[in-house]
């Protein structure tokens, strides 16, 4: 049953983008802005010292595949490391990043673990295994490499070696109906990947949301080689649903949304901020107002002090996918994860970087300040949740709608928060959460 959350979570939560470098060298929105790092909760100790022992971190995920393309996640980690290196690195030591493409292939994934191990990586940040997760998790644990801000899937939910910031893509899959409900849709359809186990999702969501009066009368898998996505919109309309939860990879989700736009559907379409950036949402025009978007932390264009640094650091890479208007949640998580790791090291005054040392630090860290990115919540990495999803990270999630009249960082239109909810509370009383009262 939980494969729904693992498989779908990987897909739904992930974003995809080209990583074409641009000549502009940064976003028009924020690169020129002078940032007071201390004021936003960060630090600036000047460039790192190359003579000191390096902090070697890593990331493994699928860089590019027809379903998932997460190279921007890896590029974001590299860009973040470069930016933090300019401001002191890891307590003066320079950060080195070793990324590995698992190719969404089980053999390559295991090879990636070996590569990361032999490269001397002491922790991964925002890694996202897309194949053979059980073996990858076990191999990482065996090598003693802690996984910071990792994207947990079914095989990681109880893995004490995983320290996720949030339930990431799995959270999207599970909480997307909440976003639709909060925006007025209670008869919800599900358009999902055609993967083993995904069929169980509709029943699970029915269990989770029955107390809110939500029903799920439409469930449609999208098989490989689908030639007409409008059938899913029309099928959902035919079933009388009000909102459609898109548990799909980016391209398929975009195709369904485009079909909805073409058909001028009245359905609310629930999707992930891992799929839709400011630009891709803005490109939908008036139809963007039909979108109910979701993630654990706000989109990149949100006016949050620490995001000034996040935006500037990523945009400075010159990578088109990392410019503010194109930023999606998963590359942002690379920056946030690295920030949290460095913050803990800073607080622990760590200057020697070993796997065991970092693991101990993660186990002991409490209330790492998250600077408003997760509402008021701060991060305790080693905290277990009640219920099945033990390593679900922080509870904070929020839904967003599109306001074409708003503006942010010089960009027209913006996301506006519609509701906040707690992972544990949504699951409370369901077969997957804690028994009430929660």
């Amino acid at each position: 049953m939980l494969v729904v959350f693992s498989a779908l979570g990987l897909i739904v939560g992930a974003c995809s983008s080209d990583s074409k470098p641009t000549s502009s060298g940064g976003s028009n929105a924020s690169s020129a802005e002078k940032i007071d790092y201390t004021a936003v909760g960060l630090w600036d100790d000047g460039p790192c010292d190359a003579a000191k022992p390096k902090l070697t971190i890593g990331l493994m995920t699928v860089f590019e595949s027809p379903v998932l393309s997460l190279k921007d996640q890896a590029d974001a980690l590299t860009a973040s490391a470069e930016a933090f290196n300019q401001r002191g690195g890891a307590n003066g030591s320079c950060i080195e990043v070793h990324n590995c493409d698992d190719g969404a292939n089980i053999d390559q994934a295991v090879a990636c673990v070996r590569e990361i191990d032999s490269a001397g990586v002491v922790a991964t940040v925002n890694d996202q295994g897309t194949a053979g997760q059980a073996d990858v998790s076990a191999a990482m644990a065996k090598a003693g490499i802690p996984r910071v801000a990792s994207n947990v899937a079914q095989d990681d939910w109880g893995d004490p070696n995983a320290y996720p910031l949030d339930a990431s893509g799995t959270g999207v899959t599970l909480l997307q109906p909440q976003a639709l409900i909060d925006q007025g849709a209670k008869k919800i359809g599900l358009v999902r990947v055609d993967l083993a186990g995904a069929s169980a999702l509709v029943g699970i969501l029915g269990d989770v949301y029955k107390d809110e009066g939500a029903t799920f009368p439409y469930d449609a898998p999208v098989p490989a080689g689908t030639t007409d996505y409008s059938q899913f919109i029309l099928g959902a309309q035919n079933a009388g649903v009000e909102g459609l939860s898109l548990s799909l990879g980016e391209q398929e989700a975009v195709q369904v949304v485009n079909a909805g736009k073409q058909l001028e559907t009245d359905l609310k379409l629930g999707a992930s901020l891992g799929t839709f950036s400011h630009k891709s949402t803005s490109d939908l025009g008036d139809f963007a107002s039909k979108m109910a978007l979701l993630w654990a932390f706000p989109p990149a264009t949100t006016d949050l002090p620490v995001y000034k640094a996040l935006r500037a650091d990523l945009a400075a890479s010159g990578n088109e996918a990392l410019q503010t208007e194109n930023l999606k949640s998963s590359p942002m998580q690379s920056w946030i994860g690295l920030y949290a790791l460095l913050k803990m090291m800073r607080d622990a005054k760590m200057t020697t970087f070993t796997r065991q040392g970092i693991t101990t630090m993660l186990q002991q860290a409490k209330d790492v300040p998250m600077l408003g990115m997760f509402g008021d919540e701060n991060w305790t990495p080693n905290l277990d949740h009640p219920g099945l999803f033990k390593r679900a990270g922080m509870n904070h999630w929020a839904s967003y709608a599109w306001d074409p009249n708003a503006s942010a960082n010089g960009l027209k239109g913006n996301f506006v928060e519609k509701s906040e909810f707690s992972f544990d509370k949504v699951l409370c009383g369901s077969p997957f959460g804690a028994p009430p009262p929660c």
Partner: protein
């Protein structure tokens, strides 16, 4: 009703897309007799050129971008035909098909390298307003798409039906020489069809990309899954029926989507995965099975396959090579190389299954990895249920065999490209219906089948923690199974397989059960595939089923051909090129090329090998065996021992009695109430003008066509309800006008195939382990002596002059000592001396061996000099019978057949 109409329109749009892709493939098939598996990839390239390079990159307008992209697709297709296929013109059909798979791999890799593999949405070329019509939302581009497809279909239909070049194209695929004599160049015609067919693929892709999005693989899926299905419904010939096929598939999918919930509820399931594809494919499956034939028609042209190896094994060579691999594995290789080794070895086991099925038995299946997945699934479920791993694997392999038999069902009724496409559909259905349904896979927690860490006989061998050990397990499996497959090649059972591969009709005429052989080949190959499935699936703690897809199956057939389809050793060579295997490792780690280069180089390698040596690497190696023999790693060819003198013993005679035999094909009366008798020791001639029904009569008597009326009995036993095989086993054998020899194997094996009788059913299994060295039966030895073939025993029929080939055909027919033989124009093409010698030999069959002989022959001299009695038929009916002298003097016979010339001089017997 509104919803129904709404989804009908959606289905029409999708169906039009499938049909548009399929029409290009059908045109190419009509022009060159080849299924172009690269049709989708050619289209993909065109779509990227149009949308990314020209529109996005250069800012071109819609129409010029479309035109240039379609032209580019045509150019790629033309270049492929000119540079690769033209070189492979005389190659076996499967080799040319594999070349298209090579092109598919190359184009996909090039597209991935240049444009990336991520999907990209693109804007429509066609007007895409939406209007409401009776409450139905109609998207304009669907209507345009349907209209364009209909126009293309009508244009192609008219072109190939009413223009000279169109007619020549259709004729060229069937008989190049005939077309050449009419002044057409088959090469130019093929180039034309490939160019237009490729351009149609480009057009289809550019028009469909806005619906599907741009990706390196989507159109390949569309073509493979739906386009070829539509083409199959059109018999790869009819454009209108292909359009209909596309529409049926498209509408079927749409309706399954509309009513999916109802259907699922009806069957009380949580989910029926793959439901939208299932109805259409089941319809295709049933249609092909129902409309097929157990044995091909006389007009069927057997498809030539790459050469066969001998199956000889040098045990010393096997042991030394295995020891070297183990030393390298545990002494030199790091974990990455060990991983590449076990990937290649698992692939090699899979290729063994293809060697048996396609190499030996001639049955093309594009679903082998689906069977592998079934094997892994069954074994995994047993492990999950708590059974020991060893026993679970054994059960997994054994229980996959019945599934393999299901896959054999279409093979019993069809062959060649139809079989390939049907199995492709079956493989896809297994992926969609079984591998995507968690109910079948195990707990829903895992999205696969959880098996934990694998231990074999108490040893930890799981691939991820112990890659060297898993590679060693894979090596042991491969060597053991390779020895079984080599044994099979040398065995009586192997000869049966090869006989069916070479010529189903000839095999049946020798008493070989074509049905049984096909079932057996599918069963053995399913077992082998299941082992490969276990080696792939049992690597991790959870069996995932992504690897068990139809594209892996297609690629594996390609690898098998590269390695050497008919060679056990070919499996090892082919598997080196498996994705992620040793070849990839060399390219990435040694040559330091990454990022699709391994796939590009692998695809180019396919072309090089196919062009340089179409029988595969193993054939090159075995033909340059001197080095290997010096190293004592290769088996020496067995010296042929001299045959013992054979006692010519008379057969127990049987009388063939035909009473009132009538064969009707529709309104045509081919055989009309014919009665005749062939007694032991008697030669009966059957003569008549061309088209009189002589061969049809032989076909009917021997069970190759059904009789409309009449009785056929052998020694008083009615045999007309028996199959051709059954009749042959009772001692009724025939030869063929067109020889129908097994060209791939030696004369000895031809003779053996004709005389391998009496082996027990157990030999189907025991031959895998103990093939034995069986001496030629005395009847076969007698035939060899009789027809003076001893010096030719080690040669293949194609190495012999025509007259000798004729004798091989007759010797094969009589090698088992049948009671009655029916010889169909045995003297055709022989010179006067050879005919006289043949007459003497035929007479001896009757006189010395007591056989009854029915001789169909146009050589009146031969007939009159050889036969005891002669029966003359015209328009299917007997017009005269009697002694040669009586017949020769019969005025009716002279009018109808012999003419008014003086009777021919009788040759002294």
């Amino acid at each position: 009703m509104q919803a129904f109409l709404q989804f009908l329109i959606i289905g029409l749009g999708a169906g039009a897309t499938y049909a548009l892709f399929a029409q290009g493939a059908v045109l190419i098939y009509r022009g060159s007799g080849l299924v172009n598996f690269a049709q989708g990839a050619i289209g993909t390239l065109a779509a990227y050129i149009a949308f990314v390079d020209l529109q996005d990159g250069q800012g071109w307008g819609t129409l010029p971008a479309l035109v240039v992209a379609v032209a580019a697709a045509g150019a790629v297709s033309f270049a492929f035909q000119a540079l690769v296929l033209r070189t492979l013109r005389n190659a076996a059909a499967i080799v040319r098909v594999i070349a298209t798979i090579g092109l598919l791999g190359l184009l996909q890799a090039v597209v991935a390298k240049r444009y990336g593999v991520a999907n990209q949405p693109v804007a429509s070329y066609l007007p895409h307003e939406v209007f409401t019509w009776g409450g139905i939302r109609v998207q304009e581009e669907r209507i345009y798409l349907v209209a364009i497809t209909v126009v293309v279909t009508v244009a192609l239909w008219a072109w190939t039906r009413y223009t000279r070049v169109g007619l020549a194209i259709s004729a060229s695929a069937q008989n190049e020489r005939a077309v050449q004599t009419l002044g057409w160049s088959p090469n130019r015609l093929a180039a034309l069809t490939w160019t237009i067919g490729g351009a149609l693929g480009g057009l289809a892709a550019v028009l469909a990309a806005p619906l599907t999005g741009l990706s390196a693989t989507t159109f390949t899926v569309v073509v493979t899954v739906a386009g070829l299905g539509a083409a199959l419904l059109g018999g790869f010939r009819s454009f209108p029926l292909t359009l209909l096929g596309g529409v049926i598939i498209g509408v079927g999918e749409a309706m399954a989507t509309l009513y999916g919930g109802d259907i699922t509820s009806f069957f009380r399931q949580d989910q029926i995965s793959g439901l939208n594809r299932m109805p259409a494919f089941l319809a295709i499956f049933i249609l092909v099975v129902v409309s097929g034939r157990g044995l091909p028609l006389r007009s069927h042209v057997s498809v030539r396959l790459p050469k066969l190896g001998s199956g000889n094994v040098n045990v010393r060579g096997v042991l030394i090579t295995s020891a070297i691999v183990l030393v390298l594995l545990f002494g030199v290789m790091d974990e990455g190389w060990a991983q590449a080794t076990y990937i290649s070895l698992a692939s090699a086991v899979m290729l063994l299954s293809i060697v048996v099925l396609t190499g030996y038995a001639g049955q093309i299946s594009l679903a082998q990895w689906a069977l592998a997945g079934i094997g892994a699934l069954i074994a995994g479920r047993f492990v999950h249920a708590g059974l020991g791993v060893e026993l679970s694997i054994l059960l997994g392999v054994l229980l996959t065999i019945p599934v393999g038999l299901v896959f054999a069902i279409p093979a019993l009724r069809t062959r060649g490209v139809n079989l390939a496409v049907v199995t492709l559909g079956l493989g896809f259905l297994v992926s969609e219906v079984v591998f995507a349904n968690p109910t079948y896979l195990g707990t829903r927690l895992d999205g696969g089948t959880r098996i934990g860490r694998v231990k074999l006989f108490g040893l930890r061998v799981d691939a991820f923690n112990h890659p060297h050990a898993w590679a060693a397990v894979s090596l042991v499996c491969f060597v053991f199974l390779a020895l079984l497959v080599a044994n099979l090649r040398r065995s009586r059972t192997g000869r049966r397989l090869i006989a069916v591969r070479a010529n189903e009709r000839a095999a049946a005429s020798l008493g070989i059960s074509v049905f049984g052989v096909k079932m057996y080949a599918f069963a053995v190959s399913a077992g082998l595939a299941a082992v490969a499935g276990v080696l792939v699936g049992f690597k991790g703690q959870v069996i995932k089923y992504d690897d068990f897809n139809v594209f892996a199956s297609i690629n594996s057939v390609g690898l098998a051909v590269i390695g050497g389809l008919g060679y056990v050793l070919g499996a090892a060579f082919g598997a080196l090129n498996a994705v992620g295997g040793i070849g990839t490792k060399v390219i990435v780690d040694v040559v330091n090329l990454e990022d699709q280069w391994d796939l590009i180089i692998g695809s180019l390698l396919v072309f090089v090998i196919l062009i340089v040596h179409q029988n595969g690497i193993a054939d090159v190696v075995t033909h340059n065996r001197r080095m290997w023999e010096k190293l004592r790693l290769a088996a020496r060819p067995r010296e042929h021992p001299p045959l013992p003198p054979a006692e010519v013993e008379p057969v127990s005679g049987a009388t063939l009695s035909i009473v009132g035999l009538t064969v009707r094909f529709g309104s045509v009366m081919a055989v009309d109430d014919v009665s005749l008798e062939v007694r032991p020791g008697e030669v009966v001639g059957l003569i008549g003008p061309n088209g009189a029904g002589k061969t049809t009569l032989i076909d009917a008597v021997t069970g190759f066509v059904g009789a409309t009326r009449g009785a056929i009995s052998l020694d008083g036993r009615r045999i007309d309800r028996l199959s051709a095989t059954g009749r042959a086993r009772l001692g009724l054998r025939r030869s063929f006008q067109s020889l129908e020899l097994f060209e791939d194997v030696s004369v000895e094996e031809n003779i053996r195939a004709g005389s391998d009788q009496g082996s027990s059913r157990a030999s189907w299994v025991t031959d895998l382990f103990w093939p034995g060295r069986h001496a030629l039966p005395s009847t076969a030895v007698a035939a060899v002596h009789e027809f003076d073939l001893e010096r030719h025993l080690d040669q293949t029929p194609e190495e012999l002059p025509y007259g000798r080939r004729r004798l091989v055909g007759i010797a094969r027919t009589v090698a088992s000592g049948p009671s009655v033989v029916l010889l169909d124009e045995p003297a055709a093409g022989l010179d006067e001396n050879e005919s006289a010698e043949l007459a003497r030999l035929i007479r001896r069959l009757a006189d010395e061996r007591n056989m009854g002989v029915l001789l169909v022959e146009h050589d009146v001299n031969l007939v009159m000099s050889t036969c005891d009695r002669v029966v003359v038929i015209d328009f299917g009916a007997v017009i005269a019978s009697g002694s040669p002298a009586e017949v020769r003097g019969d005025q009716t016979v002279r009018d109808a057949y012999l003419g008014q010339a003086e009777p021919v001089e009788q040759v002294t017997q």
